[in-house]
């Protein structure tokens, strides 16, 4: 096999993070290579360094036998490496044809763009992809799937030798994915090399020849897809072997809650978002959601909390059928949601600890019923003590706290509103190990006090440790539920690896 793109010893750091260290990467001519890894593995950094979006710190890149140093994505495109992003980077209001040719329009001899020529060339370009669309219509009249195809058509027309597809399938339905695969196979047979980045295990096994796995910015494995077991791939992505899985299960002390379910979701689903699923959560239990990145964990939380509306299924709260159309409604029903990215959507850095804690309670009571300063201080102090938040005073600005303590402030905010159900999406991400354990213990205590919790984490050990039951997800589908002694990291991994 002839190598078309070869990266050796590549390193790239950002202030505070070493995104890539000594990464090797090889792409052969006419192959489809899967690039996989969990969050923070360095996939996008690698792509961006290879295509000139970032400059590398060290290492070599050889393209088509020559050492290269692309200065911009455009430079890489001119040499024949094109990237199609998950978010379509085209111009929605212009026509399909113009999107393919803008910047390179055919001109008439007397000057002026030759639209007839442009449109007929565009027709050829899309026909090559078996796409039967009217190229003179604006791009935004077509689905995302078609827009992605147009994006590929543009890349190919600029004469791509290497096509990088960055999570192209995340918003496509099954038929559209199949269509994309057909095109990918065709391009491969024409000698074009494709790097395919995806979270979907089924897809990576269906289409790739080889798979390269990154983990924490380092090479974690290189496999030939044929003959590779899912278990080996998952172990390599998560960095865990069967043997070193130790099961310390605190959650087993919880049992599976008491009485009637607080939440029961029946065939709830949303097209292109998550497949229909059933879930119940009882007071006093922690339901863990386990799955790889992009498997649909956060999507479940969003449906439950009213961020997204399901288009099928029934949601019952306390036995009552309920339709939540907004987080506001969910709060009124006694839910709290600590979102995944606390910096983006959680804390308000310029406000004090007290003000941050009081926020949800104030929202619940309504803006007109002001909570008296004295009461605010009492509530804040109570939670600072109860959750062991390390801060000089309740008037300290939240931005000055450590990550772990910020996370506790968010927890305190929702606890102050006295919820019946608390949704925790990655509550321990990016905080030090000591705070992690504290938060995990807190989760269990809350459950013992009768709160129902939905716990999402990409760290399997933590899901295993804290959950009384675990729902396992893969490729936007709930594929199994574990409880009691069945809950272990190896069992979760096995469930994920089982072929559908």
């Amino acid at each position: 096999m002839e190598e078309i793109l070869k990266v050796s010893n590549l390193s790239k750091g950002f202030p505070g993070v070493q995104a890539l260290s000594n990464v090797d990467f090889t792409l052969n001519r006419g192959e489809i290579l899967g690039l996989m890894g969990e969050n923070g593995a360095g996939k996008s950094t690698l792509i961006k360094v290879m295509t000139g979006f970032y400059r590398r710190d060290s290492g070599d890149i050889h393209f088509d036998g020559q050492a290269v140093d692309f200065t911009s994505p455009n430079d890489a495109v001119r040499h024949g490496i094109s990237t199609v992003y998950q978010e379509v980077n085209l111009l929605p209001q212009l026509t399909v044809a113009e999107n393919i040719f803008i910047g390179r329009q055919p001109m008439k001899k007397r000057g002026g763009i030759d639209w007839r020529e442009l449109n007929s060339r565009a027709e050829n370009a899309v026909a090559k992809l078996d796409l039967d669309i009217d190229v003179t219509r604006p791009l935004n009249t077509y689905s995302v799937a078609v827009q992605q195809m147009v994006s590929i058509a543009r890349a190919l027309d600029i004469s791509a030798k290497v096509l990088i597809l960055d999570e192209p399938t995340s918003s496509l339905d099954a038929a559209e994915v199949e269509q994309l695969f057909t095109v990918m196979r065709r391009l491969k047979s024409e000698g074009i090399s494709i790097v395919f980045i995806t979270h979907f295990l089924d897809q990576v096994f269906a289409i790739t020849d080889r798979i390269t796995v990154l983990r924490s910015g380092k090479n974690a494995g290189e496999f030939t897809t044929e003959g590779l077991s899912r278990m080996d791939l998952i172990s390599s992505m998560l960095g865990k072997e069967f043997e070193d899985l130790d099961a310390s299960r605190w959650g087993s002390s919880l049992g599976t809650g008491e009485g009637d379910p607080l939440v029961s979701m029946n065939s709830v689903g949303k097209k292109g978002f998550i497949f229909p699923f059933d879930l119940t959560i009882r007071p006093g239990e922690v339901l863990g959601l386990a799955g790889l990145l992009g498997s649909g964990r956060t999507e479940i939380a969003q449906l439950l909390y009213g961020v997204e509306k399901p288009d099928e299924g029934v949601l019952q709260l306390n036995g009552q059928e309920t339709a939540l159309s907004s987080p506001r409604g969910a709060i009124d029903e006694g839910m709290g949601f600590c979102p995944e990215d606390r910096k983006e959507v959680g804390i308000i850095p310029e406000l004090s600890v007290r003000e941050n804690i009081i926020l949800a309670l104030q929202a619940k009571r309504g803006a007109l019923r002001y909570i008296h300063r004295k009461e605010q201080e009492a509530i804040a102090d109570k939670f600072i003590r109860a959750l062991n938040i390390v801060t000089p005073s309740s008037d300290q600005l939240v931005k000055n706290l450590s990550g772990g303590n910020q996370q506790k402030v968010i927890l305190a905010r929702w606890l102050a509103a006295e919820p019946r159900l608390l949704i925790l999406d990655e509550p321990t991400r990016g905080i030090d190990i000591g705070s992690k354990v504290e938060i995990q213990k807190l989760i269990l205590e809350l459950a013992k006090e009768g709160l129902a919790l939905l716990f999402i984490s990409s760290e399997l050990d933590e899901v295993v440790r804290c959950s009384s039951r675990v729902a396992v997800l893969r490729d936007r589908q709930v594929i199994g539920e574990l409880d009691g002694t069945d809950i272990s990291e190896s069992q979760i991994m096995k469930t994920i690896a089982e072929t559908a």
Partner: protein, 330 residues
């Protein structure tokens, strides 16, 4: 891809422009029926004449708005140009065509400065052009504080006198400048890479960068063009009135923006047509002509009507945006 059914050819993206043209013809028809004597070439020519300078500036503004920007300086540029030409003529006896060329030079420098500040210093369009607006207005007063009328300037007299008789009216040469600019604007927007890049920048600037388009150069050129056309508009305005004063055309930029929006150009950028702006300007001129026919319909009612028209178009655009978003989902 048979699953992606072809929509009817009348795309929702065409709704704004079709609305503009329909409104134009409806208003003309209504006015012609209601007021005998309204429907005359003379009237039409007059609307053309009084609004020629607005039209020239609006062509530049159309490019600016399609690119997702705004230019608030155009009204002050007109005022500066008119008083500068008048003052040079009065105090130094400078032939107007020379002072006009100087003004175009000033316009070029102004546009370049605005464009570079926006593009290379990444300052907001609104603020940069606001600064330019105050600057040029201030400079207009520096030149002269009162009204100066221009008499016996051969070039201006020639431009006013020469023309093509259309019915009872006379389409002076300077009106043809507007028509020429209009045609050039249409051609540039449709048949040059620069023109298409303007749409790309306004449609999605970061996409345009990723697609390798010369985004920075395009943005600078857009403001150079707008300032030059504003200066040219100022020249036409000066010829039309044969006078200059520094407090002319206060708020003109907002009238121009309103005409462009009524012409169906998307304020968020990425969509619009120069020909739409042409109709927008004519609708605008018509509305302000109405007070002459209905005594109860005073100028302030014209203002309110323009406001309502702009509102209509903003609503249509929101509707179009939602419609296309939904079309993509299904």
């Amino acid at each position: 891809m048979n699953s992606f059914k072809k929509l009817p050819k009348l795309s929702v993206n065409n709704i704004p422009i079709l609305t503009t043209i329909s409104i134009f013809f409806l208003m003309y028809a209504a006015a012609s029926i209601m007021f005998p004597g309204f429907f005359s070439l003379y009237n039409f020519v007059n609307i053309f004449k009084t609004n020629a300078f607005v039209g020239i500036i609006a062509v530049g503004m159309t490019f600016v708005i399609i690119s997702g920007g705004i230019d608030l300086s155009v009204g002050s540029v007109v005022a500066f140009t008119s008083i500068f030409i008048a003052k040079m003529h009065q105090s130094y006896g400078m032939p107007s065509w020379i002072s006009m060329l100087i003004c175009l030079g000033i316009g070029l420098v102004l546009g370049l400065s605005i464009g570079c500040l926006i593009t290379y210093f990444e300052l907001p369009e609104f603020l940069v052009t606001l600064v330019a607006m105050f600057l040029m207005r201030g400079l207009a007063y520096v030149v002269h504080q009162g009204t100066i009328s221009i008499q016996d300037d051969p070039f201006i007299a020639f431009m006013k006198r020469t023309g093509i008789r259309v019915g009872a009216g006379n389409l002076s040469l300077y009106v043809w400048v507007f028509i020429l600019i209009l045609i050039l604007g249409i051609l540039v927007s449709k048949y040059t890479r620069f023109g298409r890049n303007v749409y790309a920048v306004g449609g999605n600037e970061s996409s345009a960068v990723l697609m390798g388009l010369p985004v920075k150069r395009t943005k600078v050129l857009i403001y150079v063009m707008s300032s030059l056309l504003a200066t040219l508009g100022g020249i036409v305005f000066t010829i039309h009135l044969a006078s200059g004063k520094p407090h002319n055309t206060i708020g003109l930029e907002l009238h121009v923006i309103a005409s462009v929006v009524i012409g169906g150009t998307l304020l968020t950028g990425g969509a619009g047509r120069v020909i739409g702006t042409f109709f927008g300007v004519l609708i605008y001129g018509l509305v302000f002509k109405l007070p002459a026919y209905i005594s109860a319909f005073r100028e302030w009612w014209a203002q309110i009507l323009v406001g309502l028209l702009v509102l209509t178009f903003i609503l249509i655009q929101t509707f179009v945006a939602e419609k296309t978003a939904r079309a993509v989902e299904s």
